[in-house]
């Protein structure tokens, strides 16, 4: 049942495609016409807030929902009208949807049973799948006897036992506590690598998406906003929504200075952006600076390194977050800047406190221009 993962990095074989697919509920269009291609062997995450249409896409692929327009394809075949039972995809449901009247092994072997596999084959495959998900010896248990994390693993074993071409995961980690969620993230990722099966993972948790995915599809109000690798999405957000939904960001309304190509006037003064970024920007826009890209020091201390963007401010809030301190600093007339200082590498000579006068600085390279 183990399938090797011969895919080399960069090899891109389309497996499932959505072409101009739209979904209406009555007069309400919940999914705008959408194109999406899922490559064989990739871990693709569909990320968005609730109501963004991410679960709608999952249901379209799984066959639980028919599109109002457009086409769903598998390899070269049109599967738009095909019911779920005839698609070579399996789903891990948000509530796991394990059959309560069956044992763990019977649950896992369900897809083999409906195909008419013999009892010994079923038991054998179920045992192998349970071993793979780390539940060897749990086959005879009742589902109700398992913890949430174990039920999650059974749901995964049930989905992989029939060797589907693609596995759909509908926010499977949302019911788990934080520690278990982290553990399951790396576990899911390692299973996916081991099997080489395509995973389509739906979540509203940006941290989960960044940690697990080969590619992320960011959605908002029924549209795909951006598709890219986690690093691309994080470092080059397409618009203000992506910039603030994935990780945190300071967004400054900005107006380009006509005579300086990379310089902008903002509420906190003139800011220099990454050179080359500003080409073609001649209207008002926003500048995005990540909290961890801003360094801070007590006013009056010597600068450790000369940086171009320097802003004075007053500390308004201090929050200790274990790995770092989070500060909210008032700057300019109405602007509050959020920034993070790791405990070890800060330049502040000890944590700041509320009311202190500080000077912040950031590298132009870390300043992104968001077109509005």
């Amino acid at each position: 049942m183990l399938r090797a993962a011969p895919k080399t990095a960069g090899e891109y074989v389309p497996l499932v495609g959505l072409r101009d697919v739209a979904v209406d509920y009555g007069a309400l269009r919940v999914l705008q016409p959408t194109d999406l291609t899922i490559a064989e062997g990739e871990f693709l995450t569909i990320l968005g807030p609730s109501g963004s249409g991410k679960t709608t896409i999952l249901k379209l692929i799984g066959g639980f929902l028919s599109p109002s327009a457009g086409q769903v394809s598998f390899k070269a075949a049109d599967i738009t009208g095909l019911p779920p039972e005839r698609r070579p995809f399996n789903t891990v449901f948000q509530d796991y949807a394990l059959f309560p009247h069956m044992s763990v092994a019977e649950n896992v072997a369900y897809s083999l049973r409906v195909k008419g596999a013999s009892r010994s084959e079923r038991l054998d495959e179920a045992r192998k799948a349970l071993e793979l998900v780390g539940l060897a010896g749990f086959g005879d248990r009742k589902v109700a006897q398992l913890s949430g994390g174990q039920q999650q693993r059974v749901a995964l074993a049930r989905a992989i036992v029939a060797k589907p071409s693609l596995i759909l995961l509908d926010e499977p980690l949302s019911a788990l506590d934080a520690a278990l969620r982290h553990q399951m993230q790396s576990f899911l990722k390692s299973i996916q690598r081991q099997l080489g099966t395509t995973f389509v993972f739906v979540t509203h948790d940006q941290q989960e998406a960044l940690a697990m995915s080969d590619r992320i599809v960011v959605m908002n109000v029924g549209r795909i906003v951006q598709i890219g690798s986690p690093a691309e999405i994080y470092n080059d957000p397409f618009n203000a929504f992506v910039a603030t939904f994935i990780g945190r960001n300071n967004l400054l309304p900005a107006t380009p200075l006509p005579e300086h190509r990379d310089r902008f006037t903002t509420e906190i003064g003139v800011v220099q952006a990454r050179s080359g970024e500003a080409a073609g920007v001649d209207a008002d826009c926003q500048l995005a600076i990540r909290p961890e890209c801003i360094s801070v020091r007590r006013r009056g201390l010597e600068l450790a390194s000369e940086q171009k963007n320097r802003i004075e401010g007053v500390v308004r809030e201090v929050a200790f977050a274990g790995t770092h301190y989070g500060y909210r600093v008032a700057a300019g007339a109405r602007c509050t800047v959020t920034l993070e200082c790791s405990g070890r590498h800060n330049e502040t000579d000890g944590p700041l406190s509320v009311g202190e006068d500080v000077e912040m600085s950031f590298d132009p390279q870390d300043t992104r221009i968001i077109r509005t």
Binding site: P84, E85, A97, F99, V114, R158
Partner: protein, 262 residues
């Protein structure tokens, strides 16, 4: 009044009510196991003789067989019809569903004499001879309310994701019904079937009107009591109460296991 006095008062009322209800039955049961000499009970000579008399009474045995057959067939018929109704009405809503369900529940709440007379007229005008068949139809009609209620509630509790998961894993609609829906309904079937059998077993009034020449155990008991009291009547009461007790305990045990949160 203090809380403890309240408890004592409630306890007294509860005990009184239970005694009032069950003492007569206990007395009858007592009389079934001990001989009565000149109006007083002889506790020194317990006997199963009255039950032996019953076992030798062909008409009582025949009535028992009829009652059992009617209970079995009417509860099975109820289960099948209630399942079809529940499956059909599951997707429906609005006034149509309310009206349909009212029709299902009505025979249970209408006076039995009305239901019995209607069935009598129906069997007369349709030419169906009165007997076990009409008893089974009559009993199904009013047990359907209880059976439908239990099954439809259980069916409504079937998580849609289980049906989706089954389809997702490759099961056809029939396979989903066989492997997921029916196992989900099984405990409801057991509880509803036992309750229906119980209701059928001790039903008297409707039965009396549609039975024709056929006799069931309650009808036989009724007939014996009209002739005059005999010790075997006490024994027969014990048999009827015993069967009802077992059926109802089994039904409620299944129901309470079923409704316990997972």
């Amino acid at each position: 009044m203090s809380a403890s006095r309240m408890n004592v008062a409630f306890g007294a009322v509860f005990t009184g009510a239970v005694m009032l209800l069950y003492l007569p039955i206990l007395t009858v049961a007592l009389y079934a196991f001990f001989p009565v000499e000149r109006g007083s009970i002889d506790l020194s000579a317990p006997t199963l003789g009255y039950f032996a008399d019953l076992a030798g009474n062909v008409s009582v045995l025949e009535a028992l067989a009829n009652s059992g057959l009617a209970a079995l067939l009417s509860s099975l018929l109820s289960l099948v019809v209630a399942t079809l109704y529940a499956a059909y009405l599951r997707e429906k809503s609005g006034p149509f569903k309310v009206a349909f369900e009212a029709l299902i529940y009505a025979p249970f709440f209408l006076p039995p004499i009305v239901v019995g007379l209607s069935l009598l007229l129906a069997s007369a005008s349709s030419g169906i001879p009165r007997g076990v068949a009409t008893i089974v139809l009559g009993h199904s009609l009013f047990t359907l309310a209880v059976v439908y209620r239990i099954i439809s509630v259980r069916l409504a509790n079937l998580p849609p994701s289980l049906v989706q998961a089954s389809a997702d894993l490759g099961a056809s609609r029939l396979q989903t019904i066989r492997f997921v829906t029916i196992p989900h309904l099984m405990s409801a079937y057991v509880a509803a079937g036992l309750l229906a059998a119980l209701l059928s077993f001790d039903e008297t009034l409707i039965t009396a009107l549609v039975a024709g020449d056929t006799t069931t155990l309650p009808l036989r008991l009724w007939a014996m009591m009209r002739v005059g009291f005999s010790p075997s009547i006490n024994a027969l009461v014990v048999v009827v109460v015993g069967i009802c007790l077992v059926l109802s305990l089994a039904a409620f045990a299944t129901l309470s296991r079923e409704t316990r949160p997972a």
